[in-house]
Amino acid sequence: MRDRLRGLLTWTPSMLGYAVLAATVTAYLAVYTTSLGHLPTSFDYLSLLNTSLPLIFVAIGQSLVVLTGGIDLSVGGIVSLCVAITAAASGASLPATIGWLLVVLAVGAACGAVNGLIIAKGRIAPILTTLATLSVYSGLALKVLPVPGGSVAPAVRAVLTNPNLPTGLIWLGLAVVGWLVLRRTRFGMRIYAVGSDETSARAVGVPAARVKVGVYALSGLCSGLAAVFYVSTTTAGDPNAGAPYILTSIAAVVVGGVAFSGGRGSARGAVSGALALTLVIDVLFFAGIDPLYQSLFQGLFLVVSVLLGSAALLVRRLRPRGGTS
C-alpha cells in the first residue's frame, strides 16, 4: 500500500501536464467567477471542450511522433488539406458525407505514411522532411479549396461536436482509451523502444523503420480527425486552417511532459497540455487582458511550464530514494 502511494506521488513526465492543467483550470474558475459572478455552466465547459478537440487530436499525433524522437511540422499541411476536402465535399447526401469523412481520414493517414517512408527509408531528418511536405500538403489544400467556404452537414455536427449534448466528451474519452490500448500493444511498446534508443531497439529486432512509418501515418490520421472536428465546430472550411496547429501541437506536447529526446511521456500528457493551452486563452479573456498580448502569455506559459517540469525532475533526483526507478 505504501509502495502504491509512493508510486502515485512519484514524479512522472505526464504529471507536468496534469499539474499545469489543474493550475489553469483553477485560474479559469477564479477569473470566470470574479468577472461573471457565477461558476461556469455546463454549456461553457462543452464549448471549451469542442473548441479544443482539434488541437487535442493533433497533439496526440504529435506526441506519438515526438515519442520516437522525431517531429512532425507537416501536421499544419495535413490539417489544412483534410479541412479543405471535408468542407468542399459538404454538399453531399448523408451516406456520401460519411464516405467522404472516411476518405479524409484515409488521405490524412496516407500523407503521414509518405512522411514516414521518406524519413525511415530515405533517411532524411524528420524536421526537414516534414518541412518540405508541409509545403506540398498546404499547396494541395489551396488547390482543393482556393477560398474559405463550405459547410458541414447538421447531422455530422450533432454527432461530433453537439453544442447541447456532451458528445465531445465521448470522443475525448475514445481518444484517451485508444491511446491506453495502443501503448499496451506490441506496436506501442516499440514506439517507446525506438524513441529511447533506436540502435538498441534494432539490435533486439524491433523493425524501427516500420514503427516510424506507422507512427507518422497515425499522426496523419490524427490530423485528419482534427480536421473533421475543426470543420464540425467552426461549420466552415479554410485552406489555411492547419497553420496554427504546427506550433500549438508542439507546445501542447511539451507542456504535457513528453521529452523531445524521445521515449519519455505519454499522449495523455499531450491531451492535458492541449486542454491547458486552450484554457489559457479563456483565462486571458476573462482576466480582461488585451487579446493582442495573447501570444506573449502563451509563450511565457510554455517556457515556464517546461522550467517547472525540469525543476520537479531536479528535486526528485536530489532526494534520495525518491523514485521507484
Binding site: 532524411i124 526537414l128 522532411t129 518540405a132 489544400a141 523531445f260 498580448y293 506573449l296 502569455f297 517546461v306
Partner: protein, 321 residues
C-alpha cells in the same frame, strides 16, 4: 590535381552540391524563360536572397551546435517595428534607433541562449516560447501597429543606403558580402570557430577538452538574434515601413537555406558559403515559378518537392547499420 581531390571532404563536397543546385535551377530558368538569367533579373534575385542570407546566417550558427532558432519571425518583425517607431523617420535619431533594433535581437538571443544552455530547456521549446513573447509584445505595445509612431517611415538615409549602389554594386549585396565574410572568418579563422565545430560534433568531448560549451552556446544564440534583427532592419529599410507578419516566411526559409546549403541539421558540419548558395537556390525556385505563372498552390507543391529532391541528393543521414 591529386592534392585537390584529397581536399574534397564530405563537407566541401556538400558545398559543391549546394552551388550545383543553385546553378542548375538558374540554368533551367534560363532555358525555359528567356531573360531569367539576365543581370537585372539576377540582381533582383540576389537582393531577395540577401534577406534569407541574413536569417540563414543566424540559423546556421545555432544549427552548427545542433540547436534551432524558431524565434526568428518575430525577432525580425519586432526589430523592424522598433527601428521605425524609435527613429520616427528622423535622420538624427537613426543611430540610436539602429542600436535599439539590434539590442532587441541581442537581448532575445541572449535569453534563448541562457534558457537553452543554463536552464536546459530544449531549443525548440525555448525559441518557440520567445517567438510568442516577442509576438505578443510587438502586437501589444504597438496596439496592432496602430500606434501614433507606428505610421513613421524609415529615416531616408538608411532607405537610400540600402536601395542605392556603391561603385555600381547594390549596397544590399555589399552588406550581404560583409555578413558572409564576418561569419566565414569567425567560423574558420578564430578559436571561437574551432570551438563551435567542436561543440557541434560532440559537446561532451568539447567540454572535456576545456571548451566552455555553455558560453559558446549562449554566444551563438545571441548572434542568431542579432542576425534576425539585421534582416528586420534590412527588410524595413528596403520597404520603408514595417508590416505585421513581415518575418513569417523567414522561419522556414532560414531552415531550408541552411540545409540546402549543405549544413548538417545534426550539427558540427557546414559552411556559410553553402548557405549563400542555398538562399540563392530558394529565391531562384520561387522566382522561376512566378515567372512561369504557376498558380499559388502549384508553387507550394513544386517548392516542397524540389527541396525534397535536393535533400534526397545530398541531405541524407548515414545508415545506422
Amino acid at each position: 590535381m591529386t592534392v585537390l581531390l584529397e581536399r574534397v571532404t564530405p563537407g566541401t563536397r556538400r558545398i559543391g552540391y549546394a552551388f550545383a543546385a543553385a546553378v542548375g535551377i538558374l540554368l533551367v530558368g534560363a532555358i525555359v524563360h528567356p531573360g531569367f538569367a539576365s543581370w537585372t533579373s539576377l540582381r533582383a534575385m540576389l537582393i531577395l536572397a540577401s534577406f534569407i542570407g541574413f536569417v540563414g546566417a543566424g540559423q546556421m550558427l545555432v544549427v552548427l551546435v545542433g540547436g534551432i532558432d524558431l524565434s526568428m519571425p518575430w525577432v525580425l518583425n519586432g526589430a523592424a517595428i522598433v527601428l521605425t517607431t524609435t527613429s520616427l523617420g528622423r535622420t538624427g535619431r537613426l543611430v540610436p534607433a539602429l542600436l535599439a533594433a539590434l539590442a532587441v535581437g541581442a537581448a532575445v538571443g541572449l535569453a534563448n541562449g541562457l534558457g537553452v544552455a543554463w536552464l536546459g530547456v530544449p531549443a525548440v521549446v525555448m525559441t518557440l516560447g520567445m517567438n510568442g513573447v516577442l509576438e505578443g509584445l510587438s502586437l501589444g505595445l504597438s496596439k496592432g501597429l496602430t500606434c501614433e509612431s507606428c505610421a513613421s517611415y524609415v529615416p531616408d538615409p538608411l532607405h537610400r543606403l540600402v536601395v542605392g549602389r556603391f561603385g555600381g554594386v547594390p549596397t544590399e549585396m555589399l552588406l550581404w558580402a560583409g555578413v558572409a565574410l564576418f561569419v566565414t572568418v569567425l567560423l574558420t579563422l578564430t578559436t571561437f570557430g574551432r570551438r563551435v565545430y567542436a561543440v557541434g560534433n560532440n559537446p561532451r568531448a568539447a567540454f572535456l577538452a576545456g571548451v566552455s560549451v555553455r558560453a559558446v552556446t549562449v554566444a551563438l544564440y545571441t548572434l542568431s538574434g542579432v542576425f534576425a534583427a539585421v534582416a528586420g532592419i534590412a527588410l524595413v529599410a528596403y520597404g520603408g515601413q514595417p508590416s505585421l507578419g513581415l518575418g513569417d516566411p523567414y522561419l522556414f526559409e532560414s531552415i531550408a537555406a541552411v540545409v540546402v546549403g549543405g549544413v548538417s541539421i545534426l550539427g558540427g558540419r557546414g559552411h556559410y558559403i553553402g548557405v549563400v548558395a542555398g538562399s540563392v537556390t530558394l529565391v531562384a525556385i520561387v522566382t522561376l515559378l512566378q515567372a512561369q505563372r504557376v498558380p499559388e498552390y502549384g508553387r507550394d507543391v513544386i517548392y516542397g518537392l524540389v527541396i525534397l529532391a535536393i535533400l534526397f541528393t545530398y541531405g541524407r543521414e548515414r545508415a545506422d547499420d
